[in-house]
């Protein structure tokens, strides 16, 4: 019988290796897998690349992981939230690399990785500093830039409920990047509030089918 649940959080993050590209869910705190990120802080892995919309806030979650020195690079759309002090200190001291990607392009590049699209032309960033150096093409009279898939070794995401097969549902706007990151990573680890029986979730309502989920960590057990 398939059971994707891991027994503890140490096991959940044991699948992450040095140098991994980690897709970290959430928009601000909504949907951020805080516990998984903090468990990762306690491991020996290093030289991580983080892909996430923001660069952490305060001293917890992603910010704590960055503070631990394990993050060599962050790929994100908006690292300048008022609370992103740890990131900004690291950046100012040249302790972390930053790649800023427009939010829709960030999301679409991960979708391309998950959907087997080799590259795509988007009008976003054409003619701007963020489009500099990229291949461009005029399509239907509009300048587009060519963007490539952004694939993760690991996705760390947060959800509301899972079953043992890895079917998951989210809560309100905490859904945000997670369904796409789950598709775009080789291995996806989800932190959920509740494990339910197989068949308990409405099949019309399952947002991420188990095919995209590898390990489930139930947080409030």
């Amino acid at each position: 019988m398939i059971n994707k649940e891991v027994q503890n959080i140490t096991a959940a993050v044991s699948y992450i290796d040095d140098g991994a590209v980690i897709l970290s869910g959430g928009f601000g705190d909504a949907g951020a897998p805080i516990s998984l990120l903090e468990a990762l802080t306690k491991t020996d892995v290093k030289n991580l690349t983080i892909v996430s919309n923001n660069a952490g806030e305060g001293n917890y979650g992603l910010a704590a992981l960055m503070k631990s020195g394990k993050v060599a690079k962050i790929i994100c759309s908006y690292p300048i939230s008022a609370g992103s002090i740890i990131f900004q200190n690291l950046y100012n001291n040249n302790k972390i690399l930053l790649d800023v990607v427009p939010q829709g392009t960030l999301s679409e590049r991960m979708r391309a990785a998950g959907a087997g699209i080799g590259a795509f032309f988007t009008p976003t960033s054409a003619g701007t500093k963020l489009g500099e150096g990229k291949e461009t093409r005029i399509i239907e009279g509009i300048e587009h830039v060519l963007e490539y898939p952004l694939k993760g070794d690991i996705a760390l995401i947060l959800a509301k409920k899972a079953d043992r097969l890895g079917n998951i549902i989210y809560d309100k706007s905490a859904r945000n990047f997670s369904p796409i990151m789950a598709m775009a990573a080789t291995t996806t680890i989800v932190q959920v509030e509740e494990l339910v029986e197989v068949g308990e979730m409405d099949p019309e309502l399952i947002i991420t089918p188990g095919i995209f989920i590898d390990y489930i960590f139930v947080h409030n057990k």
């Binding site: 705190d29 100012n92 939010q103 829709g104 009008p123 701007t128 706007s173 990047f177 997670s178």
Partner: protein, 230 residues
């Protein structure tokens, strides 16, 4: 006595009110982070408008009552909001498909500068000591059917923000449709600034003196007549 140097200008709430009047019933609207969020407060009661938030909400409602905040229900500025009946949630990629695919009727954004050809600069200054951050600005700029700009006519230092050419980094090229400032309502038409409304008592000459690019005034121009809002 408190003084304000702009005796004829609209205050921020009045600019938000003016923009709200411009939004027809049934529109799907994205309001940028900051001042543009105020536009939602002034939609006429009899108009049904649908607010989109790029983090995956359509049909976003106002801030919740104190104590009713839900960390999983936030807007693009990461502030607590509510969902109206008929609202829905979706993932980020679907949300930006709505934006990039031209499904959002109107997006109201702030700006550092707008050029007469419609170029928009609102994501980065010339200060390179700070890390850059773009969020969804570039996607919104190229994606929404109409880009409305809500901004002060001048910078805090008194420099013009309506330019012949943007000196700040571009967010998008030729994307701005209309600019709503404390002093005027200005359309971008055929790469020119065309003034269609002026604050009470303001002349085109006054406005031109505060504007880098040349302005034209339409024949049937109006005076902006906002209600008192404090």
């Amino acid at each position: 006595m408190a003084t304000t140097p702009k005796i004829v200008g609209l205050n921020r709430k009045q600019v938000a009110w003016r923009i709200a009047q411009e939004i027809p019933e049934g529109s799907y609207v994205n309001l940028g982070i900051g001042s543009p969020e105020m536009v939602a407060n002034y939609i006429p009661d009899d108009r049904e408008i649908f607010f989109h938030s790029e983090n995956g909400i359509l049909g976003m409602g106002p801030a919740p009552e104190p104590g009713q905040e839900d960390g999983n229900l936030i807007n693009a500025g990461k502030k607590p909001v509510t969902l109206l009946p008929g609202g829905s949630y979706f993932n980020h990629t679907d949300s930006f498909a709505m934006i990039r695919g031209g499904h959002i009727d109107i997006c109201v954004l702030g700006a550092y500068q707008v050029a007469e050809n419609g170029d928009l600069a609102n994501w980065a200054t010339l200060d390179t000591t700070k890390p850059p951050g773009v969020g969804g600005a570039m996607d919104l700029a190229i994606g929404a059917k109409k880009i409305y700009i809500m901004m002060d006519h001048l910078t805090k230092d008194g420099h013009p923000k309506l330019m012949r050419n943007c000196t700040y980094p571009h967010t998008g090229q030729g994307v701005v449709k209309t600019i709503f400032t404390d002093l005027a309502v200005i359309d971008v038409i055929n790469k020119k600034f065309i003034v269609r409304e002026l604050a009470r008592g303001l002349s085109l000459e006054d406005l031109q003196s505060k504007t880098d690019a040349p302005l034209s005034l339409v024949n049937n121009w109006l005076t902006i007549s906002p209600p008192e809002l404090n």
